[in-house]
């Protein structure tokens, strides 16, 4: 019997996790990753660390290289998929040729979304998404420069931190505030102070109106009327899923709609990672959740289901952890109490550290902390994900979060199903 042909479009964390899951279930599987990039697989989450030299180029690719070899997975680089022809079980490349598959995974990730900025040519901007982007940027950073970053997401903030630390003059232009989607305003304010302390500047509630090239520099007009002259402009205003051409896969909230087995509406076609709009853990609504742990989990579940297992995805729970300068922040699950009044919110502050916990009935639904001494965010995530009842211990969990979370985790002693 011929071995089953698995084709995975993309070579990011979701794609690798899927390949690994397929190999676990199917020894003889013929697994191919196809990417439009020219390099080995890597995880985009750590690209900012290249800027500070904490990560070397060599180390970026080690995991991907080792996994490909261990899993006996073929990698095809420099090939972009033009269309998915589901009726004939083929994908068509931009080069014109086609490749057959038995099972297909779309794990193309997401790319930068560039807003309309007057007079701006695409060759004048830098983005923050792929290794190529960073390589391009890195080459220009030979001396100390003034750099504007438009956008305030996690990668933008981490990159800004690394650039500040490397001695560049960094200005962040944020349309609202820093990391608005991830952390509450109080905690963000602490982060903003840390930036000013390290020489960074943040212009909140501003948009970039226009950019003009003046000699070797860029002249930026900001919506508050200020004019900035910088050496580089990095645009990191958000991401949009890298779509593949096929109108028959329904799209939701900018992603490919998948069910709880990560399957799309078309037979033998699955999607995972930033491109997939999977059901949310809380309300089952489909939307992308572009964070690394969910990409890995979705990839793993997609891979197992592609190889014939039946494993359901419990739904995504947003989770973020940021160590920036000397501050550390985390947020898990629902942290915005305004969304629904039914949540019980408990908060505390001790010196420079704060903790906020959100409960619905006897269950934890969200947690956010700033500079907590030895905290394990993953334990909170487990309490949420496995619906471990906190019962009457809400106050205790707030007072002694680490101890109580660990006690609840050990008491219920559940193990991960996947």
């Amino acid at each position: 019997m011929d071995s089953c042909k698995y084709l995975i479009i993309g070579a990011g964390p979701a794609a690798l996790a899927a390949a690994q899951a397929i190999r676990t279930c199917d020894k003889n599987a013929d697994i191919t990753l196809v990417t439009r990039e020219h390099n080995l697989p890597y995880s985009p989450a750590v690209l900012p660390y290249l800027l500070s030299g904490e990560l070397t180029e060599k180390d970026l690719f080690v995991k991907g290289r080792d996994l490909l070899a261990d899993l006996k997975v073929k990698l095809i680089c420099n090939k972009e998929v033009a269309a998915v022809l589901h009726e004939t079980n083929e994908v068509k490349f931009t080069s014109g040729e086609c490749q057959k598959y038995d099972k297909l995974l779309i794990a193309t990730g997401a790319g930068p979304q560039i807003p309309a900025i007057e007079n701006l040519e695409s060759d004048q901007i830098y983005t923050f998404r792929t290794f190529d982007d960073f390589e391009k940027l890195q080459k220009t950073l030979t001396n100390k420069q003034s750099i504007a970053i438009y956008g305030a997401g996690l990668v933008a903030v981490e990159a800004a931190e690394k650039l500040c630390m490397a001695g560049h003059a960094v200005t962040i232009i944020a349309r609202s505030s820093l990391l608005r989607k991830y952390f509450s305003p109080k905690n963000v304010a602490v982060l903003e102070q840390a930036f000013s302390k390290h020489g960074g500047r943040i212009l909140t509630n501003n948009t970039l109106v226009s950019a003009k090239k003046v000699e070797n520099k860029l002249e930026l007009m900001v919506s508050n009327g200020e004019k900035l002259v910088v050496d580089r402009l990095i645009v990191a205003t958000g991401v949009t899923a890298n779509m593949v051409e096929n109108d028959l896969i329904p799209r939701v909230s900018g992603g490919l709609k998948v069910g709880k087995h990560m399957e799309t509406a078309l037979p033998n076609i699955y999607a995972a990672g930033d491109v997939a709009a999977a059901p949310s853990f809380y309300n089952g609504q489909n939307a992308p959740c572009p964070i690394l742990p969910e990409a890995v989990l979705q990839g793993k579940i997609a891979g197992a289901n592609m190889a014939g297992k039946k494993i359901a995805y419990a739904g995504w729970i947003p989770g973020n952890y940021l160590r920036c300068f000397d501050e550390s922040l985390f947020s898990i699950g629902i942290t915005d109490a305004q969304l629904e009044m039914a949540y019980q919110v408990l908060e505390k502050q001790e010196g420079s550290s704060t903790l906020k916990l959100l409960f619905k009935d006897e269950y934890l639904v969200g947690a956010e902390g700033l500079n907590m001494k030895s905290i394990h965010p993953g334990v909170f995530l487990k309490l949420i994900k496995e619906q471990i009842p906190v019962e009457k211990n809400q106050e205790l969990l707030l007072a002694k979060p680490r101890e109580t979370a660990c006690w609840l985790m050990l008491k219920h002693g559940k193990t991960q199903a996947v």
Partner: protein, 425 residues
Amino acid sequence: MLNNTLTVRDNCPPSCTLCVEACSRRTVSVSEPLIEKIDLPEVNFHSVLTCNQCSQPECLAVCPTGAISKSDSGTVVLDSDRCVGCSICNLVCPYGGIVPKKAEHKSQKCDYCGDDPQCSKACPNNIISYDKASVMAEQMGEDLLSPGLPYCAGCGMELVDRQTLQILGKDVVLFGAPSCNVLSSKAKVPYYGTLMTQVASSATGVSRYFRHIGKDTICLAIIGDGATADLGFGQLSAAAERGERILYICYDNEAYMNTGIQRSSTTPYGSWTNTTQVGSRGRGRQGAPKNVPLLMAYHGIKYTATATLAYPEDFMRKLLKAKEAVKEGMAYIHVLAPCPTGWKFDPCRVVEVTKAAVESNYFPLWEAENGIFKLTHEVKNPALIQNFTKMMKRFAHLSEEEIKHLQEYVNFSFEQIKRIAASKG
């Protein structure tokens, strides 16, 4: 693959932090401890927390740089040089095993101090212990069962036989009688088939012959509860009283399963069998079962133990002790052997059922060496007996009242063995 394992038993003393202190001294200079003390007097919980060394670690799966890997002995190792401190591992670890480094932008975790954990050495209460896989692997010899299995689907006896022979080795003569576990064509050692009434006396004769010719060949009986507790009990008791040098393993499936599920004297209270029917007149087996291992220990033999396939290290240690003891006298091991056919449970759940029996104290694990009793696996929070009975149909008819009665019996016999162990006799 066998993994090294750090086990944390029971509640720690509230004020003790010796393991944490030992952990910070694991390197030449003082470092941040990677084992944490959890004190929660509000709910009377005191324990320690460190990496679980998961079999499929989530930290390893998400680590963007591949700094986290698994060693050959199953330890999850974090390579500090490749770690960039993104902390995504700490975000996904459900057990709090990752600790951020304070001074550097990096993460760290327990690596069993490179296979020599300081915490377990420092623990004066034996709450933290470290078991090396190599110890077990070294004891496992050649697999002496040939391919093809004579058992029902889901029977655990294959594992019991295999492990027993792997540990005892080839210098063994097996004794059996008509039963589910006839190994005449399966084991790569001589097999002596006899009648159910005289397994112990047959083994006695052959064992005496080996002594006579100056050989230490082990005469090993593996036989069911019917032949042990009922038909052959007289012979067994006599051999024990004489101190015959035989190793006798009773696999207890709590009824005559091979002949069609008839009650034996180890059938538990309330259990359905074909001769203890449930209907207008019957409610399953009435009265308490015979506690054969306890009776055997009170013969004053060299070694007695209870064991199960669900706790293989425990079983292995007991087999090794029995192997030594049988050089001087009799060794007896009573192995609980859940029977999917007779107990009526899903064949894929034999290990779970066996575990549930131990974790509810239905089948406590203990040993008696030269008359000194010891519990070898004390259960922290014993589960209710329902957790065990609900897994099988032979107890499906039990009323609340009957469950209560069974629970009382379980409590009584556990307290009994615990009392004996505490009194060192």
